[in-house]
Subunit: 476 residues, 2 copies
């Protein structure tokens, strides 16, 4: 693989951040623009997002979600209606102050998130218990003014979906909040091959305006955590601020209960940092825009290209497959296919044709498999399933090997300084200890996991009675 | 159908604009917001857009289009790079002047269209003839500051797709421009059952910065025209303004050629105004989110609801079908199904069950068809095909019956005043005559159709030698 194409990638062990940047550029996922913090998502990157969208949207709709579209602008007075929410978001919004050649009487921000717009909308259409629930979602972009940005991980504008639901009861809202969190986690594990820790955020880390925020947290190659999806229960807080009341079955006027939940293009960053290697991107087969690249060997020899096309035509009913018939050398094509993270390479040349075979090469392990052309459909399908499975298991093993336990602050600091990964430690529930842990060990609380364990009786920080196990870590 | 639900719709003959507004509200397609000119697209409306998207996107990809995503902001200096383009769009943009709590050094507009961003992007990635063509598209929303707005037809923010391509030669760009225009027209006719006049815009009506703009024009119930999709050939004008040069096969540095083409949520307005009637929306089966609504009659009688569900389960493999099992009366359900434009109603009650039958009622003609439950899959599928076909033919007949010819200005003025529709008339090609026709008859040039006819030798306005046939009309 010693072609120029590859040589210019930084090794992740030398400089993880540069390795990441090299991949997003060399795999042609993004292009930078003249606007700081805004990127072009190029076709190779956007096709990954389209696959994420299609699968998430399918899973959403199975649970009764309906899509809609709300405006991208929020008038300042509307943003100001819920106190905690505006405090959380106002400092990081972009303001439109002029339009159609005139200065606006009231400035409008570009949505950083759309709770306030959905509340306004729901206040128009929810009147009776018969109108509930509404389980709506929109696919759109949002803008948050960020000082430091990284493609996919943190950008001024990013693509996401935001679900916003409204329910008759607190119980129903809570059930929906948890349902969507689990949907996200299952999606990430089954489709992106990224294992998740599911749990609840501490009050300090919860969403501005939420009663409770739930999160899924993944561990990257470098031992840093990535918050990958969140689901919020608002109780009736927004409903009170926006006056969303309905007449219940007893003809009483009561407030409704709401949730919201979102997942973003950040997941493309997660795929890179969980699965990528020093040759480039490694895509799980289910999310890969191209699952297998057929690379003809000695393609000018008679019959080779025709055989490659014939093979593609056979395979394309079941697999997203392409032929690289450019005039580059096979070595260059191999390197390019590796850089782009295409899960399987199919090599076919005169020798293979003579033997009625092709060579399948796994992107993830580089393992080679010589298969008969007679059974290549089944073998390829099996191989893609195996790769998808192995990638999840490998990511899980990495995550587990980099998850540590601490029962004292000295242990905590030592792990934080020397062993990148998650740190499990007991916590008393006090904000003061959460702040002290961040101050002393440089880690933040990632979540209070649903899967609780009893590591000790006392808080790792203050030594008082522990309330809960917390995952701590350095995070993107 | 004499339920409240329907009685409150204005007749289109009495007030076409109010009829339109009533439908978008009562069919729950949109909700108004506190931001003038911005609407909520509700699930019933958005599901139509999702079907349009899915089908257009499929057709795009068949021709080699790849999707990507560019930022929503354009720095002022970038917008200013192409002179005609900025003159066309600068007056109607929204400006972001503050972000993250600070005043920006350079204001940015929210994209009204993305030619300038694509040019900037292409200038980074196009260097050699090997990099061409790029046939890219994005699905997004854009903002244009409009004084008067109507849901779907003209709003400050709207959803669309914008294709932007770049080619080695002028011929290739021209071929792509025409290919996409024809793709749009075929899509509208085959999928939305809306016949189109295909043609070229006059210089006066072409897109800001284009060498040539092609358009498809539809005729609404009220005889007004709706520009439904446009495709622009930019020649190398933008490439020169943005310095997009590539090395050709002879190793010379030359400018590239570009196109762009777009279709918007406005098509939902077209569906309403071409197919709707005084009971509400009428959706062509292919674009209808729900194609058949099963309405149980006497649903409390034993076996009726079960039979309705069983029927749904049988039909759902081939049809988008639902059961209305709410506790509303059948009459109310009928009216609601009609208002929402669901193409077929399936009535099933105790009498039907006794006879092993169901009643299919067409939304478009109200025709009833009693069919045996044994062959309902085929009968329903056939009926949906027939409805789709008939709707196009009916729309074509209406369009043809409202297309007039004029050879003198007196005829032209008489038709414009008394016979809403398209007016075909010959034109000399001079801007002065185009302006005079607008001034005197109140109609604008819609297009110079591909299908030319020779109505007379002379321009309808000045009497000089005619160059081309033009479709004229009042337009949305």
């Amino acid at each position: 693989m010693a072609e120029n194409f590859v040589e210019s990638i930084t090794n992740m062990e030398d400089d993880f951040a540069q390795w990441y940047t090299d991949i997003v550029k060399k795999a042609e996922l993004v292009d930078y623009t003249g606007i700081k913090g805004c990127m072009v998502i190029r076709p190779a990157g956007y096709a990954i997002w389209e696959n994420i969208q299609r699968e998430l949207d399918r899973r959403f709709k199975e649970t009764g979600v309906e899509n809609c579209y709300l405006p991208m602008f929020i008038p300042e007075s509307l943003l100001n209606k819920e106190k905690d929410h505006v405090e959380g978001f106002a400092p990081e919004v972009a303001w439109v102050t002029q339009g159609g050649g005139e200065t606006l009487q009231e400035r409008m921000c570009v949505r950083p998130t759309s709770e306030t717009l959905f509340c306004d909308f729901y206040s128009h259409i929810v009147h009776s218990y018969r109108d509930l629930p509404k389980v709506y979602n929109q696919w759109c972009s949002v803008v948050r003014w960020e000082k430091t940005t990284r493609p996919f991980l943190r950008s001024m504008e990013f693509l996401w979906q935001e679900g916003h639901t409204i329910h008759a009861t607190a119980e129903e809202a809570q059930a929906r909040t948890e349902q969507m969190l689990n949907l996200y986690a299952d999606f990430c594990e089954e489709f992106l091959a990224i294992p998740m820790v599911r749990g609840r955020k501490t009050d300090k880390e919860k969403f501005a305006g939420a009663e409770a925020t739930y999160t899924i947290e993944a561990l990257m190659h470098d031992g840093k955590a990535l918050q990958s999806g969140t689901s919020h229960n608002f109780g009736d807080g927004f409903a009170r601020a926006f006056g969303i009341q309905y007449t219940d079955k007893e003809n009483k006027l009561v407030y409704a209960h709401q949730t919201s939940w979102g997942m973003t293009t950040r997941m493309i960053g997660a795929i890179i940092m969980v699965h990528g290697d020093n040759s480039g991107l490694v895509l799980p087969p289910l999310v890969a825009p191209v699952q297998a690249m057929i690379i003809p060997i000695q393609q000018k020899k008679e019959g080779v290209l025709d055989a490659a096309y014939a093979l593609r035509d056979r395979l394309k009913a079941t697999t997203r497959v392409k032929v690289d018939d450019t005039d580059k050398t096979p070595g260059f094509k191999f390197a390019e296919q590796e850089m782009r993270g295409i899960p399987v390479r199919i090599e076919i040349g005169p020798k293979d044709l003579a033997n009625n075979q092709a060579v399948l090469v796994r992107r993830d392990t580089r393992e080679k498999l010589v298969v008969s052309l007679d059974e290549i459909e089944t073998k390829l399908a099996e191989l893609l399933t195996t790769i998808q499975h192995d990638m999840l298991e490998r990511a899980r093993a990495h995550r587990d090997a980099h998850t540590y336990s601490a029962t004292t602050m000295d242990e905590m600091k030592d792990i934080a300084d020397n062993k990148p990964g998650f740190i499990k430690a007991m916590w008393c529930g006090d904000r003061a200890c959460e702040d002290a842990i961040k101050e002393q060990a440089g880690v933040t609380s990632r979540c209070m996991p649903f899967a609780q364990e009893h590591l000790s009786d006392t808080c790792v920080c203050c030594g008082k009675k522990a309330k809960t196990l917390v995952y701590w870590g350095k995070a993107y």
